[in-house]
Structures are given as C-alpha cells and as structure tokens.
Symmetry: C2
Subunit: 199 residues, 2 copies
C-alpha cells in the first residue's frame, strides 16, 4: 500500500526511508517545485550532494536509473520512476531568507531552507549548512552553456518521481514557497504536494 500524505503548500517534512524502501513524490496539482534532500541515518554529515552527483552522473538532470551520490561519492537515492517530463534542477541553492530580502521582502517569507531546518530538527539532525537540494520539477534551461533561465515547471497534475534508498536515510521535502518569481506555475502560486514511503 502506498498511502499518500499531503505536504501543504509552502511547508516541509522529513521522513525516515529505510534502505531498500522507496519514497514517491507526487506533484498533486502540477507545476510545483519540491526541494529534496537526503541524509544518512547513521551519519547525517554524509548527505546527498548535487555537485558530486553532477560529476558522477555526467548529467545536470537525473535520469531513471541514476543513483544520486553523497559528499563522499557513495550512492544515497536511486531514481527508479519518473512520469514527469524529467526536468529537474541540480544547480540551484534553495530559497532562503536572504533570497527573499533581495527580492524586496521586508517581512519574513516562508522558504525552503527554513523548512529543511525545521523538518530535520525533529530527527535531531545537525545542520551546519544547507546542502544544495535536488529541485524536483524545477525548469532551468541554459543558452550557449552560459545563460540560465527559469521557466514554470512542465510537470502535470499527478506526475510523480520515486526514489529507492540505498541506505537508511532521512529524506526532507519542501513544497517551495516561491511566489515572487516564476519558479512555480499557476501564476507563481505555491500548491500542496504529496509523498508516500513504501517497500
């Protein structure tokens, strides 16, 4: 059974995914970016790392069958299913208070970095820094190997990705609260997503 649990718009969660089990992330309404991190249960200083995965995979967007690796270059999560158009981003820092200040916010704005901090604190995971997330469904493109642009996600309602844990992991997810630039679709409207952990 794959019981789907909702992550409300703008919110984050962290959940244990034992080795060999899978975590599925569903883009309930389509067009929503979800920041994803994974930490090894037995030593959270080892975590899924995008700049190491880019080197190992020779790719800046993961494909089904790819194992994303840690900062020690060991497999952490393997992408085993992707019904979306397969457009994700491995290059962007998650949004954080500094990002929203630069975008003109004078008051606190929900953000993926703080969602991660809150979510992993419940699992007693120390977080000396924010690893670069796998930005699920985020639609970044490049011109001439140089200039980058962000377009609304191509993911449709119900599109999903599934990852199998290569080790006991704590996986964190944040339904990105970005509503000032078109990272999310529906006119920059953050929406809820859902996830399930299953054998």
């Amino acid at each position: 059974m794959k019981e789907l649990i909702e992550i409300p718009a703008r919110c984050g969660i962290a959940v244990e995914v034992p080795a060999g089990q899978s975590i599925r992330v569903v883009n309930t309404h389509g067009g929503q970016v979800v920041d994803m991190w994974a930490f090894r249960r037995d030593d959270p200083s080892e975590h899924m790392s995008m700049p190491h995965s880019v080197v190992t995979l020779g790719r800046i967007k993961p494909a089904v069958g790819d194992s994303l690796v840690s900062n020690l270059r060991r497999p952490v999560l393997r992408l085993v299913e992707d019904t979306s158009p397969g457009v994700h981003c491995m290059l962007f820092a998650s949004c954080d208070p500094a990002r929203y200040r630069l975008l003109g916010c004078t008051e606190y704005h929900d953000n993926c970095a703080d969602n991660l901090r809150s979510a992993v604190a419940a699992h007693r995971i120390p977080l000396p820094y924010i690893p670069t997330p796998l930005n699920l469904f985020m639609n970044t493109k490049f011109d001439d190997h140089r200039v980058m642009r962000v377009e609304p996600p191509e993911a449709r309602p119900g599109d999903r990705v599934t990852f199998r844990a290569e080790h006991d992991c704590i996986v964190a997810l944040s339904a990105c609260p970005q509503d000032l630039v078109p990272v999310n679709a529906h006119g920059c409207t953050p929406t809820a997503v859902a996830y399930a952990v299953f054998s």
Copy 2:
C-alpha cells in the same frame, strides 16, 4: 607592482586579499584548471558559494563585471578581468580522495579538496565541509540541458583572470592534480600556475 608567485603543479595556497585589492590567477602554461575558493576574513563560515551565485547571476559561467556571492548571498569577489575564452565551471565538486578511489587509485592521489584543507589550516579557518569551488578554466559543456562533458581547457599560456575582493577575504587556489581524466590539457598533465595580489 604585481609580483607573480608560482603555485607548483598539483599544489594549493591560501592568501589574504584585503577589501578593494585584487587577486590575479595566471594560467602560465595554458590548459590548467585552478580550483578557487574565498572565505570572509571576519567570519569564514560565510564563503563564496556557487549554487547561490548561479541563482543571483542567472549564469553558469561568470562574466566580467559579475560579483560571485556568498552562502548569505552577499558579494565576495568581483570578476574584473578575463583574458581567457571565459570558460569556467561553477557546477563541479572539487576532486577529493573518494574521486580518485573511484577512478581506480589504490594509493593516495593529490587532490584539490586536501589542497584546500592544508592551505586554509595555516589561516586557522575551520572547514566543516568543502564548498563547491569556482573551477577556473574548466571546460564543461552541456547537451540539450542534460548531458555534460568535460573537455580540455581552452585557456592559452599566459591567460589570466582577476578578481577584486568586496570584503577582506582569504582566497584559496589549487592547481588541479587531475591526471586520469582530461580535465587538464597537455595529455592530462598538471602544470604550475601563478598568482598575484595587488592594490
């Protein structure tokens, strides 16, 4: 006066660059990759950060005039001169012992991560993790926004880049010791480079 100081092949250094002063990196023999990091002198936990710079700049290769920003999204180093073809890489983790083990090395191999560790230790900078470096002159390219390939650097002998410090910084440089895959030119032969700090 710009007195050039040599960094021997496979080696690293760290040097103080006061606010307003500049650091120049010269590709003495051409075709050599140089990993670069910068830490704020007054709080080294704030450092030049590639995944944050990518978002701020909207670019995956810095252009003259660009300020690379920190993990708090504040300017750290501004690229003020680039006589090379302007091909650098902001996406790759630096080479490290795990990378060389995966490439088949059974004995210790010089690597940029350890070069950074040794170089900043002399400045008493704690290093709880290795930030993604700016891989100067590294020639990474992308196909269809997905697949990545690494080709030998296009930088010619004497090509140089110059950065002005926006704050008092410790800047670290490592002449990349990669000799197993064609990250460096001359048949994967690491060579010496040089640098100068000046007003």
